[in-house]
Structure formats: structure tokens, C-alpha cells
């Protein structure tokens, strides 16, 4: 009787929650892919590869999410990643090989051949000195990205350029500066100990994954538990109301884009230490995907709605699907078609579902009467 009540009873109500939907969607995607391609999808290498690819993209998506929560958008995250990657790579190499490094040669892309002969690799410092160098590199990457984010913030809040145009402008500007520095050639051959950040593992868990989880946790706490985080939601939801309730909107917006830039800086370190090189144009494909995953994760493009858990689950879903496509053998271009259609479909669904729910509610009410 009790059991019957439990299953069929009217007292049981299922609470609708977006997070639950994402968990279910992820499980479904995972199961479907595992059934379709059991040997390939569930293989150790594929899961490992996914675990290495998720973090850098995930952190970029978090950067996009912070900007979108405030009602704006940050199209410059990829350019920020590029420029901070290039500057920190130059700092890293010139600190590691202080005597032998010829900066002009490095920027002409000759570095790779030099290092292939082994003449440079021998002199990399070890121990505490290398550790300090890596710390400086990380600081430079995050610092440069922070400055770029600050620039975005100033343009959006003080000068009040619409976020799309401001970040479009900085995107082009930063891309140009990176091109001027490197002339389009890649910088490669970082010291081995630096690569540990992007491709090492602690036990079986990849280091970038740990960094990503820490970042996601930090952003989540920041958004939900701090004054500034709450203000970002408020400004995104209704700027005028936020202003009247005593928030300094300008300061909040500057800090929002600063956060977005800092997160892009963290993504930079993971990216350049995973692929062991940096070049203008790395990660351009991530821009569309970042917007897609943030919207997929339940963040409203109008600002003020959304949370980290949704976006993180969205990232996992997207990566699982992406690696599924990889296994099936879709081309990059066809994947773009699918991302584009998903972006459009998800926004359509987001538009339709609340309307249908409203309709049903109205009908139910009229039936009751």
C-alpha cells in the first residue's frame, strides 16, 4: 500500500529543475554514445583526451558566462587568450634560457629548429628556480589577461560602448597586437616542467581537470556568496533597479569584465602548456562553442539568470557529443553546422517552453473554474 502510494500516489511531486534536466541529458548522451561506439568512446584514451580538452574550453565558457550574466557579452576572450599566451610564452622562454635565447629569432619561428638540435634544452634550469619561473609566467599570463579585461570593462562602463562593439573592437585590436609581436609565427618548445600543468596527471586525474574544478568552484562561490557576484546578477537582471538599490553599476561592470579576462588568462596557461606552442588564432573555434554552451547551460542572454552548475554540465555534454562526432568521423566544418543549429535550436526551445507552460497553466486554471 505504502509502496503503491509511493509510486502512483498523488502526493509525490517532481520538482522541475534545470540542473536535473542537464544531468539527465548528459547521462542520455553518454549512454547513447557508449552503446553506439562502446570500444572507442569508452576507451581509456578517449576519456583521457576528453578530460584534457574540457578544462581550457570550460574556463573560457565560464569567462563568457560571467560577462553574459551582467547582460553583456565578451567576444574578445579568444584574442585575450592569444595575446596573454604569446607574452607569457616570451617571458617563459627568455627567463628559462637567459643567455642563449635570441628574441628576434624566436619571433621568426626559428626556435623550433634550434631546440631540435638540443642546444637549448640542455640549459633549462631545474628545481626551485624553474618553479619560480613558472610562477612568474603564470602571473604574467593572468596579469596581461586582466589588463585586457580591464580595458573591456572601462570601454563598456565608463565610455559606455555597447558590449558587442567594445569587445569586437578589442578582439580585433588584441589580435592585431599579437600579430605585430609574432608576425604570425608560432612560439614552441616550452620547458618540460611547464608542460606538466597542461598535460600532467596526479594519480589518474589530469592536472588541468583539477584546475578547472577549482575554478568552477571558485566562480560558483564568487557568484552566489559574494557581494560583487550578487551585484553582477542584479545589474544583469535590471540595471536601473540595481542603480536605484544603491549599486555602483560602473564599478560592477568593470569588475565583471576584469573577472572575464582573468579567467581567460587561466585558460591561456592550460592551453599553451597542453599543446606546447602558441600562435595567433589558436582557439578561434571556441568562441562560437563558448556562446553555445553558456546558452545551453541555461544562462539568459538578457543577463541575470543562470548558474555555474548548468554551464559546467553543458560543457560536459558538448564535449561528449564532440568526441562522439570525432569517432564517427565528421569534419570540422560539419561540426560547425551542428553547433550553429544547436545554438539556434536551444534558443528557440528556451523561447517556446515557458510559453507552452504558461498556456497549460491557463488551461488548467480555466478547467478548475
Amino acid at each position: 500500500m505504502n509502496l503503491k502510494n509511493l509510486i502512483f500516489g498523488k502526493r509525490i511531486t517532481i520538482r522541475y529543475s534545470k540542473t536535473m534536466t542537464f544531468v539527465i541529458a548528459f547521462i542520455i548522451v553518454f549512454i547513447v554514445l557508449s552503446i553506439l561506439q562502446p570500444t572507442k568512446f569508452l576507451s581509456n584514451t578517449n576519456l583521457q583526451q576528453m578530460a584534457f580538452q574540457i578544462p581550457e574550453f570550460g574556463i573560457l565558457a565560464l569567462a563568457m558566462m560571467v560577462a553574459m550574466l551582467s547582460g553583456g557579452i565578451d567576444l574578445s576572450i579568444i584574442s585575450i587568450t592569444n595575446i596573454s599566451g604569446i607574452i607569457s610564452a616570451i617571458v617563459l622562454l627568455s627567463l628559462t634560457y637567459p643567455e642563449t635565447l635570441d628574441l628576434s629569432m624566436l619571433l621568426k619561428g626559428i626556435m623550433a629548429e634550434e631546440a631540435a638540435t638540443g642546444s637549448l634544452l640542455l640549459q633549462a634550469p631545474t628545481g626551485i628556480k624553474m618553479f619560480m619561473i613558472i610562477l612568474v609566467t603564470i602571473a604574467v599570463a593572468i596579469g596581461v589577461a586582466g589588463v585586457c579585461g580591464l580595458l573591456n570593462g572601462l570601454l563598456v562602463s565608463i565610455i559606455r560602448i555597447p558590449p558587442i562593439l567594445a569587445t569586437l573592437g578589442t578582439m580585433k585590436l588584441l589580435e592585431g597586437i599579437s600579430l605585430v609581436i609574432t608576425k604570425g609565427s608560432p612560439i614552441t618548445n616550452f620547458p618540460k616542467s611547464f608542460l606538466f600543468i597542461g598535460s600532467g596527471t596526479i594519480a589518474v586525474i589530469p592536472v588541468p581537470m583539477i584546475i578547472f574544478i577549482l575554478c568552477a568552484f571558485a566562480v560558483s562561490v564568487f557568484l552566489k556568496r559574494t557581494r560583487l557576484g550578487f551585484s553582477i546578477y542584479a545589474v544583469g537582471e535590471n540595471p536601473i533597479a540595481a542603480r536605484f538599490s544603491g549599486l555602483k553599476n560602473r564599478g560592477v561592470l568593470i569588475k565583471t569584465y576584469l573577472c572575464s579576462g582573468l579567467l581567460a588568462g587561466v585558460a591561456t596557461i592550460l592551453l599553451i602548456s597542453r599543446v606546447d606552442s602558441v600562435k595567433v588564432g589558436y582557439g578561434t573555434a571556441y568562441l562560437l562553442q563558448a556562446v553555445l554552451v553558456v546558452i545551453l547551460g541555461g544562462v539568459s542572454y538578457l543577463g541575470g539568470i543562470g548558474n555555474v552548475s548548468g554551464v559546467v554540465l553543458g560543457i560536459f555534454i558538448l564535449r561528449a557529443i564532440s568526441s562522439g562526432f570525432n569517432i564517427i568521423g565528421f569534419s570540422n566544418h560539419f561540426r560547425n553546422v551542428i553547433w550553429g543549429s544547436m545554438l539556434v535550436l536551444v534558443t528557440i526551445v528556451n523561447y517556446i517552453v515557458p510559453r507552452i507552460a504558461d498556456l497549460l497553466k491557463i488551461r488548467a486554471r480555466s478547467l478548475n473554474v
Partner: protein
């Protein structure tokens, strides 16, 4: 009229172009010559046609970033089809613009019926169109195009030969751009449709209450930019004589920079076609002068980025200053 003209954005932009070209000319003497000027007019016509479309979208308060994809796809499909069948230039223009209108209608459908922000719609459709073309087409490059394409770009409405024996003239491409500009200007100025575009740019809800047919206006806006992308793509083929799947995609930011420089704002409802033209002219002057001043081309994006930031910055900041005395509400 006089005072309004003296305060207009277009006048300042024109003066800026004049001052800038005098400065460049003092560095490199061959900049301000009839040859170079007509050359700029000719090569800027592709961007000019696209910029008019983008301007109209921005006037309505939206943004379209899918137009390079639309142009690339309609260019590819048209040239591929015309390779097989006999055709002429008119058929090419009609075909490309028809494809453009079709793609534009997809955008309009999504924008109107589902109320999705235009940036997100066009970001999505851009990668759908371009990605679909690249994944369906086995070879997305076409190196030999039918002859009538490049005969078009060689024709002049009127021309003369200078002392060094170089033909200088008013190209048919420039003429195409001017015709399109005049038609767009007439539509914007003298038809209900055009006034409706201004209206929904000013305030969508107010336009709806005033009885404008929003659906018709939105479909016109996005199919017009599709149409113009089709025209621009044929101009592009006739100028460069081959089809490349990525070249036009790189024009996106330059065109938006030109339109913004011309005085259009993303909030909608402001700007003129003349301003857009001067914006395109300014961008081409800058790019062209970099070559004359022997500055390497990788400085291009830096300059374009700065132009976008500075021009939108001045626009936005002057509005903020203007508002300051009026209201205390500040979002």
C-alpha cells in the same frame, strides 16, 4: 539646414578624411592622385554594398554577422552552377541575389518568430551556412571563372588615359554601388517600409502600437542584406577572378567598423547612408595609406580595432555627456 549640416557627423567625417589624406600625401606623393582615388572607389565598392546592408540592419537595432557567410555561399553556388550551364552576368547577379534573399529570410524568420537576439541568430546561421557549404563542397576553391565575370570589372562608364598611359575611369563596379545606395536611400526616405525601419530601430514596441507591420519590415531588412551580399559576392568574383571560401569571411569586422564609423549606433535609429559611405571611404583610405606609407599589413587589424573602439567610444561618450544634465537615471 545650414546649422544642422554644420553639426552633422558626416561633415566631421569628411573633414577627417581630407585632413588625413593631406597628411598621408605629405609623406607619400603618389597618394592623392586621380588614379589612386578611382582605384579606391573601385575596390571599395564591394565593401560599400555590404556596408549599406549592415547599416540598414543596425538602423533597425539589430546586428547581422552572417552576411560574409551568405556572400561566400551564394558566390560559390552561383559560380559552380554557371560553370556547368551557359550564362551571362545578369543571370549571375540574379542567381546570387536570390540565394542571398533566401538565406536572409532564414535569419528574418528566426528573428521575428522566436525573438532571439540578432547576434545569436546570425552567429548560429553564419556557421550553419558556411559550415554546410564547406562540408558539402568537395573543393571549395574555384580558380577559373567564366570570362564575362572579369570583363565586367574592366569596363568603365567613362575613362581617359593619363600621361603614363594608364587608363583611369569611373568603373562599372562603383556605378553598381552608387545605384544600390540611391535605391536604398529612396526606400529609407520615401516609403512606409523605410520609415518603419527607423521606427522599429527607435522603439520596437512603439512601432508595433503605431501599426507598422513588423513582420514585413523584419523580412525586408534581412532579405535586403542577403540580396546585397549576393550582389557584393558577384562584384568580388569579377574583381579577384576566383572563388575562395575564407577571403570574404575576413571582411566582417572591417564592414562593421565602417558602418559604426559612419555614425550608425547599435541601439538603432540613427545614421545615414552618406555617413556609411564616408565610413567605408575612411576605412579604405586608412588601409590604402598604410601601403603607401610602407607599413607592414599585419598592422591592419590593430588600426581597424582602434578605429572601431575610438569611433564607437566618441559616439557613446558624447551621448553620455549629453544625457548628464537631463536625467539622474543611469543604467
Amino acid at each position: 539646414m545650414g546649422r544642422k549640416f554644420l553639426r552633422s557627423h558626416e561633415l566631421y567625417l569628411f573633414l577627417l578624411i581630407v585632413v588625413y589624406s593631406i597628411i598621408v600625401n605629405s609623406i607619400s606623393k603618389s597618394f592623392l592622385t586621380a588614379e589612386n582615388m578611382f582605384d579606391i572607389l573601385k575596390s571599395s565598392s564591394i565593401m560599400g554594398v555590404m556596408a549599406i546592408g549592415v547599416f540598414i540592419v543596425m538602423l533597425s537595432g539589430g546586428i547581422d554577422i552572417s552576411f560574409p557567410a551568405i556572400a561566400t555561399v551564394s558566390m560559390y553556388v552561383t559560380v559552380r552552377l554557371l560553370e556547368r550551364f551557359n550564362g551571362n552576368l545578369l543571370i549571375a547577379f540574379v542567381m546570387a541575389s536570390t540565394f542571398g534573399i533566401m538565406f536572409g529570410c532564414v535569419n528574418a524568420f528566426l528573428v521575428y518568430y522566436f525573438n532571439i537576439p540578432t547576434l545569436i541568430v546570425t552567429l548560429g546561421t553564419s556557421s550553419i551556412f558556411h559550415g554546410a557549404m564547406l562540408s558539402i563542397a568537395k573543393i571549395p576553391h574555384i580558380y577559373t571563372v567564366p570570362g564575362y565575370f572579369f570583363e565586367f570589372s574592366k569596363k568603365y562608364i567613362f575613362s581617359w588615359v593619363n600621361k603614363e598611359g594608364i587608363t583611369i575611369g569611373f568603373s562599372t563596379m562603383t556605378c553598381t554601388m552608387l545605384i544600390i545606395a540611391v535605391v536604398s536611400w529612396l526606400i529609407l526616405r520615401y516609403t512606409m517600409l523605410g520609415r518603419g525601419i527607423y521606427a522599429i530601430g527607435g522603439n520596437l514596441e512603439a512601432a508595433k502600437r503605431a501599426g507598422f507591420n513588423i513582420m514585413r519590415i523584419q523580412f525586408f531588412i534581412y532579405s535586403w542584406i542577403g540580396f546585397l551580399s549576393g550582389i557584393a559576392s558577384i562584384l568580388y568574383v569579377s574583381l579577384v577572378r576566383h572563388v575562395h571560401p575564407f577571403n570574404l569571411m575576413g571582411m566582417l569586422l572591417d564592414v562593421i567598423a565602417a558602418v559604426v564609423l559612419g555614425g550608425a549606433s547599435l541601439a538603432g535609429g540613427s545614421g545615414t547612408i552618406l555617413g556609411t559611405f564616408l565610413g567605408v571611404g575612411m576605412i579604405y583610405f586608412i588601409k590604402n595609406s598604410l601601403i603607401f606609407m610602407k607599413i607592414p599589413s599585419y598592422w591592419d587589424p590593430v588600426v581597424i580595432g582602434l578605429v572601431i573602439i575610438v569611433s564607437t567610444g566618441i559616439n557613446a561618450y558624447s551621448k553620455t555627456l549629453g544625457r548628464r544634465g537631463v536625467t539622474i537615471i543611469e543604467s
